[in-house]
Symmetry: C2
Subunit: 591 residues, 2 copies
Amino acid sequence: MLPTRDDLHFLLFDWLHAETLSALPEFGHADADSMQAMLDAALTLAESEFLSHAAKSDANPPQFRDGRVELMPEIAQALAAYRDAGFFGMEAPLEDGGLGLPYTLVASLGGIFSCANVATNGYAFLTQAAANLIREVGSEDQKRRYLPPMVEGRWYGTMCLSEPQAGSSLADIRTVAEPLADGRYALRGSKMWISSGDHEISENIVHLVLAKIPGGPAGSKGISLFIVPRRHVDADGNAGQRNGVTLLGLNHKLGTHGQVNCLLGLGENEPCIGELVGAPHDGLRGMFVMMNEARIGVGIGAAMGGYAGYRAALAYAKERRQGRAVGERDAASPMIPIIEHADVRRMLLRAKSYVEGSLALCLYAARLIDDAKTGSAEAQALVDLLTPMVKAWPSDYALEANSIAIQVHGGAGYTRDFPVERLWRENRINAIHEGTNGIQAMDLLGRKLLADGGRAFAQLTARVEATLAAARADAALAPLAEALAPRWANLVPAIQAAGNAARTDMDLALANAYLLLDAMGHAVVAWLWLDQALTASRALSGARGPRLSLLQGKIAAAHYFIAWELPTKDAPLARFAALDPLCRDLDPEVL
Amino acid sequence: MLPTRDDLHFLLFDWLHAETLSALPEFGHADADSMQAMLDAALTLAESEFLSHAAKSDANPPQFRDGRVELMPEIAQALAAYRDAGFFGMEAPLEDGGLGLPYTLVASLGGIFSCANVATNGYAFLTQAAANLIREVGSEDQKRRYLPPMVEGRWYGTMCLSEPQAGSSLADIRTVAEPLADGRYALRGSKMWISSGDHEISENIVHLVLAKIPGGPAGSKGISLFIVPRRHVDADGNAGQRNGVTLLGLNHKLGTHGQVNCLLGLGENEPCIGELVGAPHDGLRGMFVMMNEARIGVGIGAAMGGYAGYRAALAYAKERRQGRAVGERDAASPMIPIIEHADVRRMLLRAKSYVEGSLALCLYAARLIDDAKTGSAEAQALVDLLTPMVKAWPSDYALEANSIAIQVHGGAGYTRDFPVERLWRENRINAIHEGTNGIQAMDLLGRKLLADGGRAFAQLTARVEATLAAARADAALAPLAEALAPRWANLVPAIQAAGNAARTDMDLALANAYLLLDAMGHAVVAWLWLDQALTASRALSGARGPRLSLLQGKIAAAHYFIAWELPTKDAPLARFAALDPLCRDLDPEVL
């Protein structure tokens, strides 16, 4: 199931005013009509070429045969259609041959394809992220040689960070890059969990690889970044003979089967030649350009995976008849659609509040990225602060929505006859990759909240207070503002408590960071629900038909989330603020 | 991974005093030593024959070939070893050729096999449950002909309730049973989701089938119960020619692949002959004998699925090295086992509190069943009250523990190289089958709490108060009693509010029943954790080594669950008590 056109319209135009981006010089070519046309084109293509093989490529995972990866042909066909429609270049600036779309729209378009088929979309997403990195930190020569085929979608990209012994702990990578006389480097090592790591569907693969140049500092300060093409690229940007990147094996995953995931050997049999990107030992900085975009991409992917499940469950609940209303005594009366049962509506509203809340969070962050591009330091600070929640919250709660979607289907949801079990499996990776959610919690508290003296948090609070003030003036929404205000305020002493502890015991301060990530994620999503409810409330008068239902649905979901879900984090936030040492001090032997 | 011998010993003997059961005339043959010997035999057999093919039978689901089900040979081998060891008869009384073990022990033994391989254990579990039903409501002739081969494990059993158009809504089944001149019945219809529904590994399959005799009342009062053997059974109990039960197809499931799940046709080509069990139109009563046992079995299966994941994650966390302690600046220092990270310990303690809490809940209920067998009306009322929570709570929270187990593994947990993803998939069915958790919520509130005038709840409260009183006398546990007492007390006005509403608006009273099921489940599990902590606290003096660690672990988990988890249900319980009509009154069009 795809996101609805009307919902995207509400989020992008009614709520985030994406059309105002075209007033900026960078995006003057992208007016509201052309944005809508791109969304419509993506919805059509996603349905015909991506959604159509999602179940099939799940049932037929990539095969490792004669040293090559065999993928279902539908994957290459879908990506060819995507390429022909220009989507590989949607984010690249006009001068690089791209469409130069604002990130708010790029995120939405990517989300549409991800919703239809997260696995196939993964090839395109990583290519765009890799191209962005080269554009950001590559030399002019590298940009000239690598960007055009990536923007055209003829060459794909990957991120090669993890190794078998170093997943979360990048400081411990062992891949070595020895300088060669010609200024290039010879790499040796192995890279693990490489999505899109090898296949035959693009003319070349541009691996962005972290490795250590001998003699550099130990740990994360000695990591350098390299372009390692699958096929050597000459001075004119032509791909030639194979480089020494060897496919050692495929990982057999729980989900997203269509996106091949590889163990790669570098320099195993033949030399593996790479080009340094940026300064030596400064590779993490460059990689984090890609990583931050990847984290927001993970959030969007998670939101959209949940969204697909929610839409499937909603359709099923309207169709499937089972049981009768409470109090109906006539056993011969016809069965009712299960959406008529209050508990089914509760499940669906809960799922809606999670998935549409997740998508709103991601698109709000995307809009901040556009604002930051135009020079807003506040927007940059806010997106940095929000990124750990954008990554983690949807991967926890849209996943829960996927589980709800199975539950709504009953036994049918446990079978391959319906998409909901696949979507649940696919979404489970998002709490793990691109930095586990535990790492996001450390990032939020340690780097984003404590390190900057609370400046970004104060800026975020100002925005929350503006929403609260507006909501207090709306009789229907004022109770929601009253419910949210004290809970937002409770974040302050909690963060302060951690800050005080950090002076003497950083380990204790960070030990329960996950509780804060979770509670603050709920508070942020509650704020964005209230803000959307304000937008919906203002648009109510004159609305009718499906538009009216959509607006009422946003308001109902805001009510639900703030009254039913937000208060469940009161206790965890208090526990965080109390700096409970229970888990930190636990003797592992008693587990 | 299997449950540990020491943990089972703590639960069964330190806490539940299962050895006192041997003082009862029914169980005089089962002293503590023989019980322990059975547990040890089950642990050995489960590891060698069940755990050994769990991953393999997941990767090689049953095939439908030439009208027959093909299963991996390891499944039949394991069940043959189980049969040879006498486990098929563990619950059957001595006079029926069984071992006549108390249910507390039967549940534990079943749990061991389920923990090792829930799919293969499913064949045995359903056979035992079907035999119990025949013993309970079958005629003497039926018992004589059907029970011996089931107790020996030569014939297997199934439950045939659902149909394609009637899953949760049994009142709407369409299978018809026409009376024949010889007193038997000819059945016609189809049955869906039939676990162990057809295969070649037992000499016969005894289907227990719900169907309607024409002319009976509409709805659930017109449902009758039939024995429908796969092969006809003559007057001497010999299996002969095939009956008209046809395998129409297999369901392709998310998990528990080894237990085949079928769509069966009755009377499609040849006559399908059944024998009425009990009185006409009174089939649901009989089936609920089996269903109540099945619901407790679901709880144990869910608890054990989570338990297996938790043990796997614990082992991985002690082994896998990644990262360094907070504050360790030496990048060349060795990486530490991930269990040294506070957030990993938090995840593991959370999982432990869920899975060991689930198992305690299930075994407590099992002990009540034994007490009820010896004539305690209070025990029967308590087990009836607890059953919806026994079924639902582990299927929600032990499943969450399975997700945590994946998270602890990081990317490795997302692959088939480790068991945790399989265990997560397998456990997802438990919130659905044998009555969805939504149906359990209606049962708890409508039938168990409101219908009996609060008597069973008062009996349960008396037991909770006894635990609270004892805990208040233990300095270390008194704070936990103080945290639990008001929360238990809060259940009373919440249930009263629903009771008041039920007089005028039953639909509203039941609409948010899930919130009560969830909150009361937490309160019950918190009580049982406190009760276990008391047991552990009393045993501390003199304990050392692994025994001391186990006792300290129980106390730590009680602290964690009551301080960190229980308060998260304060808000949902208040929402339930407020009779919020939001979901009940929601227009489906706004979803």
